[in-house]
């Protein structure tokens, strides 16, 4: 177990290095620099700007400079927001995105596991059909349709909630529900499948034979095994919630890092793009590792594969 964790940790380093290097060079080979979009800058000013940000040095020099400061945890200055560093911008925006992500994930897990378990326990009843079709709707109505529809209904028609913004606790409801629903649907389907498989196993029959109550059988014996597919989905699920936040933050005008990332890409703010990609990539790679470890902890059979 420890050896496995250690080996996987070591693998993270080359993966992250490849991502950083690929993104770095991809951005530099793009036609148009960060200052080309601005109102005609005179050549002198352009030269000064480039000198200030070190863009006039040879490419390999820029690369080593960047990697060096990255090792010190410095993501450099932003090209578009004068006097602000990328670290500051990320520190400013990330908490909002994390809050959005965590609440959405909690929503997804709660709704998904409840629906999935209900559907599996009452297999082929009307309850199963209701839960399963709700899940299908969740999968087929994408966030960028569901979000505006919810706004249309609850904010514009009934005027119960704000259409956008991120101020009071009620402003969390619509964005987190929108982002959580899609993943709730996937989780419900996976839970149903996993639970159905587990509920047919001998040890469940044994538990029933011993006289354990139905609730105890489901929650104590079946759920741990039945949730395995959900755990393996959490890796891609979390990655999806992170990228999904780009759209959600745009729809609900939430001042988070997702919207900032899309804007920085449009603005060709090299350092901000790089910094955000590195952050997202590290988050996703590390969370995937955590998911892998949890999976093995839950299902020791995997250790031998």
């Amino acid at each position: 177990m420890l050896r496995f964790t250690f080996r996987r940790l070591l693998q993270i380093i080359p993966v992250l290095w490849i991502i950083i290097t690929a993104t770095f060079f991809m951005i530099r080979f793009v036609p148009g620099g960060p200052f080309t979009a601005e109102k005609a800058v005179t050549p002198e000013i352009l030269r000064n700007l480039e000198a200030h940000y070190g863009l006039n040095k040879p490419l390999y020099q820029q690369y080593f400079d960047y990697m060096g400061s990255l090792l010190r945890g410095d993501l450099g200055p932003s090209f578009k927001y004068p006097n602000r560093t990328v670290n500051e911008i990320i520190g400013d925006k990330l908490p909002t995105s994390l809050e959005l992500g965590f609440i959405s994930l909690a929503v997804a897990l709660t709704i998904g596991i409840t629906l999935g378990t209900l559907a599996a326990v009452k297999r082929n009843s009307w309850l199963d059909y209701v839960c399963s079709s709700t899940a299908m709707i969740g999968i087929c109505v994408p966030t960028f349709v569901l979000g505006p529809l919810l706004v249309l209904t609850f904010a514009i028609h009934f005027q119960w909630l704000n259409a956008s913004g991120w101020y009071g606790p009620t402003d969390r409801i619509l964005p987190c529900l929108t982002l959580g629903c899609v993943y709730a649907a996937y989780i419900a389907r996976l839970t149903r499948g996993g639970m159905l498989e587990v509920l047919n196993q001998d040890y469940i029959r044994t538990a029933r034979a011993k006289g354990a109550s139905e609730a105890r059988v489901v929650f104590k014996h079946a759920l741990r095994g039945g949730l395995l597919p959900v755990v393996s989905f959490l890796g891609p699920g979390i990655a999806g919630i992170l990228t999904g936040s780009f759209v959600i933050e745009t729809i609900f005008q939430i001042p988070g890092l997702g919207r900032e990332f899309v804007n920085s890409a449009f603005n060709r703010d090299y350092t901000l793009v790089l910094g955000t990609v590195i952050l997202y990539a590290s988050l996703i790679v590390i969370l995937n590792l955590v998911v892998d470890i949890v999976q093995i902890w839950l299902n020791p059979k995997l250790k031998f594969e």
């Binding site: 793009v30 994408p142 960028f144 349709v145 529809l149 745009t250 899309v262 890409a265 790679v285």
Partner: protein, 298 residues
């Protein structure tokens, strides 16, 4: 999903003569899956409407600024947008692009995934280990972010869009194909093909892949909605299909911006898009139940 249906237990003489091939079996099972049939029929209707509808419908470019955005009426079934363009025609034209992206990008993913998986599975050993390790690592990468970067930096070119989406969605296909190839590698007919002295490429493409078409088809139908979703996602962010072309993602984006006054601009494109995803998913699930030999036995 409805449980797998059994082929009729009563064997009539005709059935003995025609035989029950895998495809024959699968077709009869699929036909009994009402949801899958509905999905397939809906898709057929949508595809026909999008392909031929625009020849009959009002032009999607005809502006009628006097009319402006008007709700659904007899002349404009689904209403018009702020420039007075007929929404129904716009949805049909957008559907062409959305479906084309769905098909072409899926084809790119299919080509990469099948070749990669077949090579890994066929050669096995170290080659397989390295190739599948690469897939494992790529699974963990934030690909959507890279697609966004590609689209931003290299212009929002529709061919780049096909390629970028296809390059992201091939991983699962590669895994499925590899597993299937490994399971049939030791079969006698492959041995026979080897004994005949056929080349490796010929064995893979002429003898192995035709025998694992079932899982490939199933997964392809499930890849199309994923691809269309990604295209719409990018278009919604303003990174996908660019005006004057439009796709369903573009229409949804426009609709979401104007929904406060003109609800139909959001509801109809969103509805048609979701309906398409529904149909594709139901058809894909139905095909999986129909073609999965394992599930048909228990």
């Amino acid at each position: 999903m409805s449980p797998a249906t059994f082929p009729s237990a009563v064997v009539t003489p005709e059935q003995i003569e025609t035989g029950n091939s895998l495809w024959h079996d699968a077709w009869s099972r699929l036909r009994k899956n009402r949801l899958a049939v509905c999905g397939g029929a809906t898709l057929l209707v949508l595809a026909l409407l999008c392909s031929f509808g625009p020849f009959f419908a009002q032009s999607y470019q005809d502006q009628n600024l006097d009319l402006g955005a008007a709700g659904p009426s007899a002349t404009h079934w689904l209403g018009t947008d702020t420039l007075g363009r007929d929404l129904f025609s716009r949805i049909l034209f957008g559907g062409r692009i959305s479906m084309m992206v769905g098909l072409v990008a899926t084809f790119v993913a299919l080509a990469i995934g099948v070749t990669y998986g077949a090579v890994a599975g066929f050669f096995g050993g170290k080659i397989d280990a390295v190739m599948m390790r690469i897939v494992d690592i790529m699974y963990a990468l934030p690909f959507t972010i890279f697609v966004i970067l590609l689209m931003v930096f290299f212009g929002r070119n529709i061919f780049l869009l096909f390629f970028a989406i296809g390059a992201v969605e091939w991983l699962t296909m590669a895994r499925i194909v590899r597993g299937q190839i490994i399971s049939i590698k030791k079969m006698e007919y492959i041995e026979a093909a080897r004994a005949l002295g056929l080349g490796k490429r010929r064995i893979i493409f002429r003898h192995m892949i035709p025998n694992i078409l079932g899982p490939i088809i199933v997964y392809t139908t499930l890849t199309i909605p994923a691809v269309m979703l990604l295209e719409a996602f990018l278009s919604f962010l303003g990174l996908g299909v660019q005006p004057p072309m439009s796709s369903w993602g573009v229409l949804i984006k426009d609709g979401a911006e104007k929904m406060e006054e003109f609800w139909w601009l959001l509801v109809f494109p969103g509805g048609v898009f979701s309906l398409t995803l529904f149909s594709l998913n139901f058809l894909g699930d139905g095909l999986r139940d129909a073609l999965d030999v394992r599930s048909s036995k228990d």
